[in-house]
Point group: C2
Chain length 351, copies 2
């Protein structure tokens, strides 16, 4: 407590050069030790490490960034208002996954919101200044210009869900198609036949894929597609409510609903209640995400679980690889990697 050891001898913090002098070696050698190069003899390494410890040496990040042209930082960009970030468990789960994986690294994570135009402006500036080595982009809409900006700036990036089937950026996603299928198959297995679907925002590719899975599962089971049973939602509770009301008035005989998210399922549940339908007796309900909402709903909601935390982990993995691969010149765009993780359906009382 009373002594700060050998620190601050000459006023400031120790530099590489001082460590070198102390260890009786050259600057280059200390640099090699610090960076874990194998081309250093054990004896030298030990001497340097001792000097580092004695002086309490910590490398100066700015100098390193300047000399090596890298920042050892990556950004998690959330192109949404902060509110959604705090409201939807999706984001915190991703963050948790990324954070867990990052702990093994020397990298620093920046959290950047880009919901408003102004924030996007700042972000563009920030990226142009190359202040991060890579970017994780979550919740991307079809017409978002951010991905293009990133590839233009040649900043490695990974997105949480492809924007289309022709996505070129590396991405990590869960199997939305399979998730959609499994929801429907689950309901069919429970004897339901008139299964409606409340979709998510259709400018989100994943939401489209859930619809595809829904349609194919029904068709494979021999049911003709009935477009009257598909109603677009927007991932909000109100949207779910609205969609449910529309569905009920259009086809009062429906006996099941697959909602594209738990939040929308909550809205749908409310609408079903108001219409006097019992869950699951009259109408079975299945959501998507398996969030806290699903567990706490009355009745508890069956839901398609995505391994969100793992998605975060995998996104970081991909990004780090991407950053490492940036060395051999001009291999841009070759074999982009798309990871798809399996979903599984968690059955509860609502179906």
């Amino acid at each position: 407590m009373a002594s700060h050891g050998a620190r601050g001898r000459s006023g400031g913090r120790p530099t590489l050069e001082e460590v070198a002098a102390r260890a009786g070696v050259g600057r280059g050698t200390v640099s090699r030790v610090i960076n874990g190069s194998p081309r250093v003899s054990d004896a030298t390494r030990a001497a340097v490490e001792a000097a580092v410890a004695e002086l309490g040496y910590v490398p100066n990040t700015a100098a390193r960034a300047l000399a090596a042209n890298r920042t050892d930082a990556i950004a998690l960009v959330v192109p949404e208002p902060e509110t959604r970030f705090f409201t939807e468990p999706y984001f915190s789960d991703i963050l948790r996954g990324v954070g867990a994986e990052l702990a093994d690294t020397e990298m620093q994570l920046l959290l950047i919101f880009a919901g408003s135009d102004r924030e996007r402006q700042r972000l563009a500036q920030y990226l142009a200044a190359h202040r991060v080595d890579g970017v994780l982009l979550v919740s991307v809409h079809a017409d978002d210009p951010l991905p293009d900006l990133l590839s233009q700036l040649e900043i490695p990036a990974v997105i949480s869900g492809p924007r289309s089937a022709a996505e070129t950026l590396p991405s990590v996603d869960s199997d939305n198609y399979g998730g959609g299928r499994s929801a429907v198959e689950h309901l069919l297995a429970r004897g339901r036949t008139r299964i409606a679907h409340i979709t998510g925002r259709l400018d989100v590719y994943g939401a489209q894929r859930r619809v595809d899975g829904y349609r194919d599962a029904l068709r494979d089971a021999g049911y003709e597609a009935d477009e009257g049973l598909v109603e677009p939602g927007d991932f909000t509770e109100e949207g779910g409510h609205r969609a449910m009301v529309a569905l009920l008035s259009r086809d009062p005989s429906l006996d099941a609903v697959f909602a594209g998210s738990d939040v929308m399922a909550a809205g749908a549940r409310q609408a079903l209640r108001e219409a006097g339908r019992r869950i699951p007796e009259d109408v079975a309900l299945v959501g998507y995400d398996d969030s806290a909402i699903a567990r706490h709903m009355d009745p508890p909601l069956s839901s398609v679980r995505q391994p969100i935390e793992e998605m975060g982990r995998r996104m970081l993995d991909l990004l780090l690889t991407e950053i490492a691969d940036r060395r051999p010149a001009a291999s841009r765009g070759l074999e982009p990697r798309q990871v798809v993780l399996a979903t599984d359906l968690v059955g509860r009382a609502s179906s």
Copy 2:
């Protein structure tokens, strides 16, 4: 869209030097323009700004940090597990306030969690490397070593609540004492006389102050302090429940409860229900924070509101001043600034 202008002429991004050449001036002059120095003629400034625009110049942060010995970044440190951060609206409100105030700045905000030992280790390393110009520390406990570490490293810092009456670090807090008083006065005005208090964690100074306010308000109204009516909680729902049970068994005649947080009030409400007490007929209930919980409780909860978002804003203000003041040598420790913001009681059906 199709052209990226003059960018990338010589492979990389433009440098100060290139801008200077383009504008026909020296490096120093460009630097002055970039940094808003007044000692530049209007004509020269215009020429430089034109060159900057044409080349799409963006200063290299690393170089600037190295040369100027500052990072233009500050950290918001949350010495708690991430879960609390996402669960409690307090943190997101602070973040929102800080973010809003920061938007006018060139500064970058880093969000750092230091809940686990490992994370704290990393944080210490990070701070030792002086990678931020200042730190905002929220939710500090009495025995937290972080504040001392910060002053040892001579890193400007502001904390969200003083650790004690003798706090030396600049801090921003709401008037916990006044908040506690107002809750009690509100209940007294409603004709309640046997007012219990469920406290927060007493190693949080603010929680203590609420207790002080509670005691003084009762005493000023002529009621003798009855220590049987004070029960420690821990800011959790379970803690609130437990405390309420204890209070009821100790003194069944109580007719009001002031809980040190809305979350604890929720726990208390549950316990009151289980004991068959009606709210507010039998027992009036007042919480603290005026969070979403308060509005959604059944019945809606009266609560002491703190201007959390403004606290965030003020914290940033203080920190920026602190950073700016760091220039004139050795004025350390002189007139630390402590800001205290007023609370106000939001009356609802629970009291």
